[in-house]
């Protein structure tokens, strides 16, 4: 029983970080109807960003300062990707935007493999642990979950209380109408793609504070993000956080009574079933 609680708590903490990654994916889909297949490599870039800024061979900054730099780089990088690859295919059939973002995926992985190789890396960093009764929480994971929550709150403030955030919601709602109201839709879309990429890289940076990684590890988290996004409903950021927690809980509970390698099987079966039964997600209307 203690084991179950400890495992569940650990899973839930991870769930916040997964949710943050998925939020990046779902935001982009919600605003411009594009599934960003470069999501995984962006997460991996976030990991390497942390390594470069905070690692012993890099700038050697404090990891959480480095994380801020990672976020800024992510925002800029996302905007660049939007202007190069996404902008021209927004009105084309789905296949075009899927493949355009996938081409970015290939380029990042290709260059990343050449530069960083595929051998695993890790950032040496520890914050001790917190003892709550019989449950031990790792400091880095606890802080990561808190940061993920904080970023989510900031995202909501941004989307609901600031003019550019409101513009993003207007464009998501109806692009033509937003343009008629004088909202510069092109810049707004670029900003949303930038924020989506930023969230992906940020979550990658957070994951890098407690797991080892390689340039290829992004794809695992990309697939997790797909599952989460479908659980929560495509285009729904709150749903993404909820989906992340569900996935985290699953990853915490399942290994206590089944071999851990069955976790992805359950995740993907759940993913397909949810798509079939409730494509609008658990929170969406029927």
């Amino acid at each position: 029983m203690d084991h179950l609680v400890a495992s569940l708590a650990d899973g839930l903490l991870l769930g916040f970080v997964y949710g943050l990654a998925a939020m990046g994916l779902t935001l982009i889909f919600g605003v411009m109807d594009v599934i960003n297949l470069a999501h995984g490599p962006l997460i991996a870039l976030g990991m390497f960003g942390l390594l470069l800024f905070a690692g012993a061979n890099g700038l050697g900054l404090h990891p959480y300062v480095a994380l801020m730099l990672v976020a800024i780089v992510g925002l800029i990088f996302g905007v660049i990707i939007y202007y190069i690859a996404v902008r021209r295919v927004l009105d084309a059939p789905h296949l075009s935007s899927l493949l355009a973002t996938f081409s970015i995926n290939m380029m990042i992985i290709g260059v990343g493999t050449a530069v960083f190789t595929t051998s695993p890396q890790n950032v040496e960093f520890s914050l001790g642990s917190l003892q709550l009764g019989s449950v031990t929480l790792l400091g880095t994971r606890l802080v990561a979950a808190l940061i993920a929550l904080f970023v989510t709150a900031m995202l909501y403030l941004f989307l609901y209380r600031t003019p550019p955030g409101k513009a993003i919601r207007a464009v998501a709602n109806n692009r033509a109408a937003a343009e008629l109201m004088g909202i510069p839709s092109d810049q707004t879309l670029a900003l949303s793609f930038g924020i989506g990429a930023m969230l992906a890289m940020l979550s990658g940076g957070l994951i890098a504070t407690f797991f080892s990684f390689s340039i290829l590890s992004g794809s695992v988290y990309e697939l997790k993000s797909f599952v989460i996004v479908v659980l929560g409903g495509l285009g729904n950021p709150t749903g993404a956080l909820l989906g992340g927690l569900i996935l985290g809980a699953l990853e915490g509970i399942v290994p206590t009574f089944m071999p851990v390698s069955w976790v992805p099987v359950i995740e993907f079966v759940l993913f397909v079933v949810i798509l079939l039964v409730r494509p609008s997600g658990l929170l969406g209307e029927r």
Binding site: F29, D33, I35, I84, A85, R88, V89, A92, P93, H94, L95, S96, L98, L99, A100, F102, S103, I104, N105, M106, M107, I109, G110, V111, T113, A114, S219, L223, F226, V227, V230, L234, P259, S261, W262, P264, V265, F268, V269, F271, V272, L275, L276, P279
Partner: protein, 322 residues
């Protein structure tokens, strides 16, 4: 139907046959192995084109049929010691049945949702087999080399399987052409343009889509059996590699989706470019990045692919390009 009189079809067929016979003429084994990969890609791309190009449904996880066919066939060959031809047919049937069952469920989804579902299915099957003991789990299965003795030794087996692949590739081209010029194919293209309108006009969309899915799954399933039999081993990451699935889409796009010759041209071009990049010292490490750049350029500037672009540019070529 007099569509068989179009030169376009015969040109496509001739290209495959000439290409397929090249290794015999030169007698080179390296040539044969290269040609094997090209023919495999042509067959996979042509099959995918039936769903992607004609019906407009983007299957991102189409490699699941290659993998499932491969696994079923390999199991029969390695464990049950079934003859090769029977294993190939079993692989094809297994893929077709899977497509039929899946199709009834996931083809209700449209656009991005369908694409996501196909990724999910591929990953679900891959992770399941990764855990499934009877099929070897994460290590997969191997055949003992002595199995090739039944087929006249490894050298003869390589030629035999090469001929089968050539035959299946021709079958894929014929199938692709036959579908395109049938009533059924017209229905698929109506679905691609506007599914609701097609339904109103009397196309039975659910059964037409399922049929297209099944047809696009059979040959990849059979190819999987041959590929892994030749490879002498099979393992989940190799059989259900998502990247290969997306390469299939790139080939179709490169040549021109919705055309019969497109996947043929696209697959050959893609393999040529890849082998160039892999062997050139300058690009070796960056081969994936260059393939990505190429893909991006195609999508942005020639979305209809080589064949589609030529067709729209030179109307005189309409009879020979299809």
């Amino acid at each position: 139907m007099n569509s068989w009189k179009y030169p376009a079809f015969w040109i496509a067929l001739l290209l495959v046959i000439i290409g397929g016979l090249l290794p015999v003429i030169t007698g080179s084994n390296i040539m044969r192995e290269n040609m094997f990969l090209i023919l495999l890609s042509v067959a996979l791309a042509s099959s995918l084109n039936i769903l992607l190009g004609y019906a407009g449904y983007v299957s991102f996880g189409h490699i699941v049929f290659f993998g499932v066919g491969g696994y079923i066939g390999f199991y029969l060959l390695a464990v049950q010691n079934t003859p090769l031809w029977l294993a190939i047919i079993a692989g094809g049937i297994a893929s077709a049945v899977l497509a039929w069952l899946l199709g009834a469920a996931i083809l209700r989804l449209r656009g991005a949702y369908f694409a996501l579902a196909t990724i999910g299915v591929n990953e679900a099957v891959r992770t399941f087999i990764n855990n499934f003991g009877p099929l070897g789990g994460p290590i997969g299965m191997e055949v003992n080399f002595s199995i090739y003795r039944q087929y006249g030794g490894a050298a003869t087996m390589q030629w035999t399987t090469y001929w089968i692949v050539l035959g299946l590739t021709i079958a894929a081209i014929v199938l692709s052409y036959a579908v395109k010029f049938s009533r059924f194919g017209l229905g698929l293209m109506a679905i691609r343009e506007d599914e609701d309108a097609a339904m109103v006009m009397g196309v039975r969309t659910p059964s037409a889509k399922t049929m297209a899915y099944v047809l696009s799954a059979i040959i990849p399933g059979m190819m999987g059996v041959i590929f892994f039999f030749r490879n002498s081993s099979i393992e989940p990451h190799e059989a259900f590699r998502l990247t290969r699935s997306i390469e299939m889409i790139v080939m179709v796009m490169l040549g021109g989706q919705g055309t019969v010759q497109g996947p043929l041209v696209g697959a050959a071009l893609y393999e040529a470019i890849r082998s160039f990049l892999l062997t050139s010292p300058l690009f070796k490490d960056l081969q994936l990045a260059f393939a990505g750049l190429l893909l991006l350029l195609i999508i942005l500037f020639v979305p209809s692919g080589v064949v589609g672009w030529l067709r729209s540019r030179y109307r005189k070529l309409w009879r020979v390009l299809e």
